[in-house]
Subunit: 367 residues, 2 copies
């Protein structure tokens, strides 16, 4: 069992990573202050892991709350089901919510914990690679609004994160790849050496090699924890974690939540950010191509949907949370391992990126 500490003063918390973590009752008990526990999960994860988790929590009074699966349900109506169940079972302010599932379950459970009786404890038990390396670390919680993704939410930290890497054995390969998009992102924005390691180990990760997974997850969490500790509420540096996300959110919004996986949209968005960084003269063409090739080898899309026009991107990106005083800010790379957040770029570089034939670029780079 490995353990990382996210340093956030009185809101600091540990991340436990290991095989079989789900069965280790003590990991949970140390972070539950009352008698009541609500396990929030979905109808895909529940049959796989709910019973095992409930066994580890056998000393507590447990309310299981099973939501419908999918990003399309990351809305107020579904969140309301959590509040209904908590109030129906009379959970008080000392209750602890446990999020058992992927990023959607984690984001919704965290936001429910932030709002229920003005704030109760919660623990993250992420069961997808994406949520293990990204959404369970850092305290961003929330739901979608018809006019924008993650527009309603809170910064709210868990008491602990328990990552059982065995849960990845039941994860569809498409979702494993989606998680790798965020892992690769950490290399691109912050750690060129890790990027080299990923180029070497990408096939073992896809084959679920336990040692490789443990290493990749731990290094990803360490990078994210470092960045979050430096800037909890995203006043500055934390925004670099959103490499590819502004382009990616536009793809998700345009295609309808749930059609492209978040990690898939981020992968295509990252390629767009790499291309734009190259157009600004910051990133060498061969480095852009290293990024594209690695994402492609990880089983990810490296071009946005053919049907999306430059106008579609402009329109969707105008409501991004990184827009300040009407000015769009983007995460771009000065070089591999070094990201910046900036609104200070030539508009032609953005327009040129929107107009790029990414399908042709993929063909050229990944052939």
């Amino acid at each position: 069992m490995r353990s990382i500490r996210v340093e956030l003063g009185e809101r600091s918390y540990p991340i436990y990573i290991g095989n079989g973590a789900l069965d280790q009752a003590a990991l949970f008990a140390a972070h539950i202050k009352g008698r009541q526990v609500a396990v929030v999960t979905n109808d895909v994860v529940a049959p796989l892991y709910l019973e095992r988790l409930c066994q580890a929590l056998s000393g507590f009074s447990i309310t299981p709350i099973i939501l419908p699966d999918g990003e399309v349900h990351k809305d107020w109506q579904t969140l309301q089901l959590v509040f209904d169940a908590l109030l129906g079972a009379r959970h008080d302010r000392k209750t602890t919510l446990i999020a058992l599932g992927g990023g959607v379950i984690g984001d919704m459970t965290g936001f429910a914990a932030a709002c229920y009786q003005r704030g109760v404890d919660f623990i993250q038990v992420p069961t997808t690679l994406l949520s293990q390396v990204d959404s369970s670390v850092g305290g961003k919680t929330g739901i979608n609004h018809p006019l924008g993704k993650n527009m309603i939410g809170a910064f709210y930290q868990p008491r602990a994160v328990v990552i059982d890497i065995d849960t990845l054995r039941t994860l569809p390969s498409r979702e494993l790849s989606a998680g790798l998009a965020e892992v690769i992102k950490y290399g691109l924005i912050h750690d060129q050496e890790f990027l080299g390691w990923l180029e070497q180990y990408i096939d073992r990760l896809l084959a679920l090699d336990a040692a490789a997974l443990l290493e990749a997850i731990e290094r990803s969490c360490v990078i994210k924890a470092e960045v979050v500790a430096a800037d909890e509420r995203e006043g500055g540096i934390r925004a670099i974690l959103n490499l590819g996300h502004t382009f990616g959110h536009a793809i998700e919004t345009h295609m309808g939540y749930g059609s492209w996986l978040h990690g898939e949209a981020v992968a295509a968005g990252t390629v767009m950010a790499l291309e734009m960084s190259r157009r600004l003269g910051w990133l060498a063409e061969r480095d852009r191509d290293r990024g594209i090739r690695l994402l492609h080898r990880a089983g990810l899309p490296v071009a946005p949907p053919a049907e999306m026009t430059p106008e579609d991107f402009s329109r969707h990106m105008a409501v991004d949370k990184k827009v300040l005083d009407g000015k769009l800010r983007l995460v771009l790379l000065r070089r591999l391992g070094d990201a910046v957040v900036t609104g200070d770029f030539a508009p032609e570089a953005l327009a040129g990126t929107f107009a790029t034939d990414f399908a042709a670029l993929k063909h050229q780079v990944c052939a």
Copy 2:
């Protein structure tokens, strides 16, 4: 113009109290960091004060958001209208929400600010006595749930509170009385000398004497600010501010939100708390009667609805936020000016309170 500072470290903020505060542009401008402002109000307050406030904010880009009036609309559906308007007008993370109205508008706007893009600034401009002395100070925000009042919300502090006491001239007298319930509460829980002052000045307050109002509002805000500064997230002492509220919430829930005003329910609930404190041998009968008489003189109900049974109270109070590990805690008085929060009382005292004939008690005390 008087000014009080609520001391909460980096979340500290000023409360400005005076005649004509609504027109003083500089009071607002000092606490607005971007260009965008959204004024959230309701269809009763908007015709009275929206245009004046917009004039004071003439340097900013203003989105007015007018909600239906009333506690019955303090729900997610109405909150959603705020998010729809903010996203529709592309408000970014540097926007400032301004709550112009009573407690419902303040609670909903504060919660909207807490959640919109995971947190933006807001300013309270309370236009009712209740919201001026209570809900605009302390950072409690939220909405109701069909199974309980204020069950969904956040602790979220405003950047400033601007109280224009002239707005009380358009307040219905029933709502003025409802506000006095909270003013009297401050005397009962914390300041016996203020209680004596209120017994002397209650008629001038009802007659809207400006000097008396300024004094009563300032002293109430000072007491609340002190208690909140000592315990922002209600881990302990802050709960004394809820004198009469647990009984009162049961009345509001039972009668349906909006049938009894919050202050009216608190007044009747306070009488129940006074009676229970007497039954425990803590409060002298003559002190209980002083409280009842003052509430009655302020135009407030001093008995719960005749139709509510002891079972109704038991059932509704079981989901109160002050229930911990299944144990009901109540705010009671050890003597006038000295409140405690305790779950340590004889159950017979609570049962006896539920069974008391408060209509007869009123007749006896206020005759």
